[in-house]
Symmetry: C2
Subunit: 494 residues, 2 copies
Amino acid sequence: MFESAELGHKTAKTDYEEAVPALRAQLLDAQFDLLELKDFAVVVLINGIDGAGKGETVNLLNEWMDPRHIQTWAFDAPSTEESERPFMWRFWRALPPKGKIGVLFGNWYTEPIHARAKKISKRAELDQQLDRINRFEAMLVREGVLLIKFWFHLSKEGQKQRLKTLEKDPKTRWRVTERDWKYYALYDRYRETAEHVLRNTSTGMAPWLVVDGSDPRYRALLVGRTLLDALRKRIEAAQKGWAPRQTAAPLPPSLDNLNLLNSLTLNQEMGKKEYAEQLELYQGRLALLCRSEKFRQRALVLVFEGGDAAGKGGAIRRITAALDARQFRIIPIAAPTEEERAQPYLWRFWRHLPRQGKVAIFDRSWYGRVLVERVEGFCSEADWMRAYAEINDFEDQLIGAGALVVKFWLAISPEEQLARFKEREAEPHKRFKITAEDWRNREKADAYAQAVCDMVDRTSTESAPWTLVEADNKLYARIKVLRTLCERLEAALV
Amino acid sequence: MFESAELGHKTAKTDYEEAVPALRAQLLDAQFDLLELKDFAVVVLINGIDGAGKGETVNLLNEWMDPRHIQTWAFDAPSTEESERPFMWRFWRALPPKGKIGVLFGNWYTEPIHARAKKISKRAELDQQLDRINRFEAMLVREGVLLIKFWFHLSKEGQKQRLKTLEKDPKTRWRVTERDWKYYALYDRYRETAEHVLRNTSTGMAPWLVVDGSDPRYRALLVGRTLLDALRKRIEAAQKGWAPRQTAAPLPPSLDNLNLLNSLTLNQEMGKKEYAEQLELYQGRLALLCRSEKFRQRALVLVFEGGDAAGKGGAIRRITAALDARQFRIIPIAAPTEEERAQPYLWRFWRHLPRQGKVAIFDRSWYGRVLVERVEGFCSEADWMRAYAEINDFEDQLIGAGALVVKFWLAISPEEQLARFKEREAEPHKRFKITAEDWRNREKADAYAQAVCDMVDRTSTESAPWTLVEADNKLYARIKVLRTLCERLEAALV
């Protein structure tokens, strides 16, 4: 969930000062339309790591917009009035009416996350609470509420730095308490819990929007911009008379053009000699691992995604060379067959799941739904928005049944891709590999990059993480794939 | 969940033989349209109590329809093929393609219910499984599957009789095994588990349809008719190009005109003298209960629903007469105010929830959504279908916070209602009570009766059951209300 929010996004002071006046004017306009229209209420949830700028951002929203029509609520320990009624009563009291914006700073997520991070509650109890929250939020959305959920994130190092900076300045020292450092000591538990919570409550109707909290200007613009986009989209839908469920909240854009893909150094060093040595080393290790006694009770599911000509096929061949042919199957995923189109989209992957002791290698996969189908408009926004949760559910089931799920995104630069396309066109035996579609896809590079980043943010999990592979140098890419696979297997077969 | 299915519905042989040919022809027609259209797949789940006719009904469906386009699956212990893959794999394999009907006889509910009834799994584990099932089914529906879930029910006595009957006949004796009697011994656990499961997985998109399994002809017609209605509705929607989620599956009708309301004896005996004695008795008990030490940590939420002039106000006054005026509030629910219309529909009830030691008396309530709003078309079918689950969630929260929820439906006959209307019109001081609307409502009696029965079936729970009050005799009704309330309080304050 937090990959994109740890890239260290930044907005320069001059850019910020240039952007704010227009953003404020647009937010005020949207707020006015919302009030005039009185068609829906807006609930903004503010959660996240301490020190990531939640409070500052809420203050800023009140400053930027008309505070008479924003209701900001902070929830501390329940009052006696509150504790004598159901847990949700205080939040129902805080719901804004149609036409208004309610900012809930601390809300129905706060207590369940605390309790789990501090080990007061068990995982199953947390899951029951999350189930109830999902039902509650689904009801809100179906009742017409626009629900926007911000999670303010800081890396562990980021949180430490932030607390230290505050402590150093006499003007802000008062803000850092012993309690803050206590929470910091629990950072890893909080992060793990938050990932679980965010993943299980990110629905197509109300996804979590993770905000990199490290730079005050960046996070302010991101929140303002995301809020504005969501308001505008929904106001337009209301004016057209569409049902609320037809408009999912948008995912947050990258404002500084920094993303998971372009922050990679795609051309990594690796010479032929080093490659040959490492290839032998890792293929040997892989061969042993997949023939081990312990592997017979497990299964391996490999996912290869990447741009055209990124080298998926080559990497796959370096893996299969180490395996027994009776043990693996490569499943190339292209357009679905007629039989497959007559089924739910995940059906064609379920049918290829491996038995114990076997390896299924997917050359492209179920991620097509949030990549090509999203970008090309083959399915509706609501469809690909719900797919993140469905895919996580699917992979959870694989892992629960003992499979190891290893996912690779092979990333190449546009220049390298172009060079490979030309090379393929020139070589008769590789020519079949390049089609008109490949050329077309290049033109949608930005949309694909956004889709890849959203995919990694929303489906890279503790138990099934994505590995981004710098693939401009094929040799390096193949070795990184093999090494990652060996390491994941070794960790799993202990 | 099982109230309507325990009324002993029956279909006479002649009626059955008359109805079947037309039903078969219509089912075949619908099946043909389904196949032609290839727009959606149909998944029929068959679950329920042993001996309630699941197998017979499945056989009948295959006989009545074209079996080439029905795929029937029964699931026993998993094969090795199956046990080496995720739990859901076998069910994915069984999904029918668009245009076909899959009958899943035993399915993803079977194992979770068994495990819980036999105390192999804990409640929290079951809830996690149900959460996963809900997510899976939501995905199926959003992918366009028409999902119809039948629960075959028998009362405890009914199951016993059925097993004995089978045992008596030499031709069917083989069908009763020791295992069947073992399950019978666990009837109460199964029923309790089933109620929990059905309540938590009855969604607006895929509600459970409970079938009274006691009479073979009745259950066959009910299943056939419900399947036909669902197919027809969805085929029409597909032909109009509507999204699948716009059409909820219908609830099963009563085929023999027997329902929860008309099986009551509305005019119960009670004379004035007996009334006076009992009134004093129960008001005295109630006064003590509500002033007891233990009540100070609880709260009481009373719900009064019933037709116009059913005597809700009179019953409420007999309760409040026993209470301290500082302790209770009567909340009359009429059309929502402007402020209330700007909020989710449950908001206006949340705002009136009582603190500990207090009593909130709702004269009409949140059930308006599934009664008047349903019948008068004030909300969409999808809205009132989802309301059953939302209302259950709401009441669960009340109960979880220590409140006692007691719900009364006051039932009067059309004749008695008419007499009371006329009486009111004649008496100047009661005249304000009768409006043109009251007269209009009488005309929709059938639709209201259906709505009341569905409401009781779907929201009468172990912890918040409905009490149906025979109210043609006001004196009897008031005493039944008071007595029920005292008994519920006494049980809760132990």
